[in-house]
Symmetry: C2
Subunit: 217 residues, 2 copies
DNA sequence: ATAAATTTTTAGATAAGTCTAAATTAAAAA
DNA sequence: TTTTTAATTTAGACTTATCTAAAAATTTAT
């Protein structure tokens, strides 16, 4: 049985591994978990001793199969609960993260699986992130970052990478919601901003926004 | 913000106060929480300092208004989650306690209230225990302990006091479920057991069972 | 290749919640 | 009322997860 803290480290390590495709280093992890590097070192030692990851001094950490399984179970719970909150309890997509952070640590396989069934085995959560099934498998939908598109290209917005409520509120305000059809109207080289069109309305978005939006072409 | 441990103490103190109508003493509380008396003393001091209860050395503790409010909020969450698990996720009444013990600590008023609405503002949980509303109020249905009935008296079983899965499994096995019509057929003075009739079938139950069953006459 | 800068680890401290064992207080019995 | 028993509290220790400050290793720059 793992503590909430241990699960949080494993989840974050998993997420960083996916993003950077390399061993996770101490400082970055510390920043993400919002703690100090020395605390991270302690925890990595502990998780290595529990046989959840490979840790080499000064070289960083990497989940082993067991650790990855834990990570996927936590991610599964997090995304199922987010889906539940939005679909059944009238939450909006910018209100669910913090609560799911708590709910993801509830220990009961039956609960997780019954919730999955109750929600009709959803494939993605309210942010378009894939939900691992009971065996940890998930379909990777082929998505393309909005930054990769050229003028006149278009696609359907299906996944957002930054789940912060600040960012999600910005998107909602600008009508950029999952399922929206987005067309690239213009690109500015000097600041990498672009002009997009949604529902016949055009407006500019900055590089920081662009890199967090993923489309299905 | 209270820790899970603090909430558990407050909940248990509240429950013991209701049951015994007197200040809660250290040893009994220690037994219920499954910890040592010395740990209880420490926690009572801490909760008193946080102004959640009145604590007098060697005299026991008693929740104040603030503490009672916390207790009712936790009880509300516990019972709403139990109801959710049984009504929406196919759990039986003997499977929900442990999971609700975890879920009752999730912090989000909106979540609690949306869950309440989603369940249609239930008045009682799967064990017949009343669910406090958003203000901490609950209707006290007038119930009578089965031990108070005489031969040929009858009533509808609406509430069970012992929520342990062992006991609930026993009841299920013997067809004693919430809503069952129970008639007292015979009483044995020497061991206080009685013979009851449910659905035309008669059988004997012991004093330990009897004292945990409450009926509406 | 060496020095400087950065990253990471170690050492020692702290807070929460628990424990054991000893001391104290209250309650019950003689 | 004094003694005995039981309940409660105190003192000191342990674990988990955290922190700061200092030391060590690695990386980058000269």
């Amino acid at each position: 049985m793992l503590t909430n803290s241990e699960e949080n480290y494993i989840k974050e390590i998993y997420s960083l591994e996916q993003k950077h495709q390399t061993d996770v280093n101490t400082n970055l992890l510390a920043e993400k978990i919002e703690t100090k590097a020395s605390s991270v070192t302690d925890m990595l030692k502990k998780l290595a001793k529990k046989d959840l990851l490979i840790y080499q001094k000064y070289k960083g950490a990497k989940l082993n199969t067991k650790g990855e399984k834990v990570a996927l179970a936590v991610v599964r719970k997090h995304r199922l609960w987010e889906t539940f909150l939005v679909e059944k309890l009238n939450f909006s997509w910018d209100e669910v993260h913090e609560i799911a952070e708590q709910l993801e640590h509830i220990q009961s396989e039956k609960l997780t699986n019954e919730l999955d069934a109750f929600l009709n085995f959803p494939k993605v959560d309210p942010h378009g992130d894939p939900i691992p099934d009971v065996n940890g498998n998930f379909a990777t939908i082929k998505t393309v970052c909005l930054s990769k598109l050229n003028i006149d290209d278009e696609g359907v917005f299906v996944e957002v990478k930054d789940d912060s409520d600040k960012f999600l509120k910005y998107l909602t305000k600008n009508n950029i919601t999952i399922g929206a059809k987005i067309k690239v109207v213009d690109k500015e080289d000097f600041d990498n901003s672009i002009k997009i069109e949604i529902d016949k309305k055009q407006f500019n978005i900055s590089e920081n926004v662009i890199k967090n939006l993923y489309l299905k072409i």
